[in-house]
């Protein structure tokens, strides 16, 4: 069965510091991978998605970047965090085929920027 891992679970960082959040998926090959942010207003906003190694699409302009160095690894980064980067970051994977649109989420990372 497939599992998705994210770490760290919580993170408190000062403004201006770098960020690296990691997501890995087990039990599947060539998944579509997604990074979402959930702010206090509860909606999930898609930040990045990837359909393959080295392929990253950005949904919204922001202070963050993403990379996919391996098939089942997805990394979210920032060189200098802003206060507005605080939130709950969720990684998700999906098969991406026409009959399997559902995505499955990791446990999330709660980031607080002070």
């Amino acid at each position: 069965s497939q599992t998705i891992h994210q770490w760290p679970a919580t993170l408190v960082q000062p403004v201006g510091s770098p960020l690296s959040l990691e997501c890995t998926v087990e039990g599947t090959s060539n998944p579509n991978l997604y990074w979402y942010r959930q702010a206090a207003g509860r909606g999930l906003q898609l930040l990045f998605y990837s359909v393959g190694i080295g392929q990253i699409s950005s949904e919204v302009p922001q202070n963050l970047s993403a990379s996919r160095p391996q098939d089942r690894q997805f990394i979210l980064s920032s060189k200098k965090l802003l206060l507005s980067d605080s939130g709950f970051y969720l990684c998700a994977w999906g098969e991406g085929g026409p009959f399997h649109n559902e995505q499955f989420f990791g446990p999330g990372t709660r980031l607080t920027v002070l």
Partner: protein, 112 residues
């Protein structure tokens, strides 16, 4: 731009009540509508709906889609305190690499 609007934004009920959560949408080239339940952390998948009028059911939860009127409902019968959560509606459209566009969710609180 795709839109997903959920109502109500929050709801408080007593155990045993039946609730109906609403999700209306606007999208070009609709592919599917999905429901998730989010308790403390990650959203967990409930249903995916692609065809109008076909009810999906899992225990006390059921959902149906109306592609003509562009909405879906999620019903929960005989609610329990464990049903307390945020319920999220999302949709995908064709040619989008299966990206999900989420609504803001309905916060359901079930009191004993």
């Amino acid at each position: 731009e795709d839109k997903v609007v959920q109502s109500p934004l929050s709801l408080v009920v007593h155990e045993g009540d039946t609730v109906t959560l609403n999700c209306s949408y606007e999208v070009t080239n609709f592919r599917s509508l999905l429901w998730y339940k989010q308790e403390k952390k990650a959203p967990t998948f409930l249903f995916m709906l692609t065809s109008s009028g076909i009810e999906k059911k899992s225990g006390r939860l059921s959902s149906i889609l109306d592609k003509k009127e562009l909405f879906s409902i999620l019903n929960i019968t005989a609610t329990q305190t464990g049903d307390s959560a945020i319920y999220l509606c999302a949709l995908t459209r064709g040619g989008s690499n299966y990206k999900l566009t989420f609504g803001k969710g309905t916060l359901l609180t079930v009191n004993p």
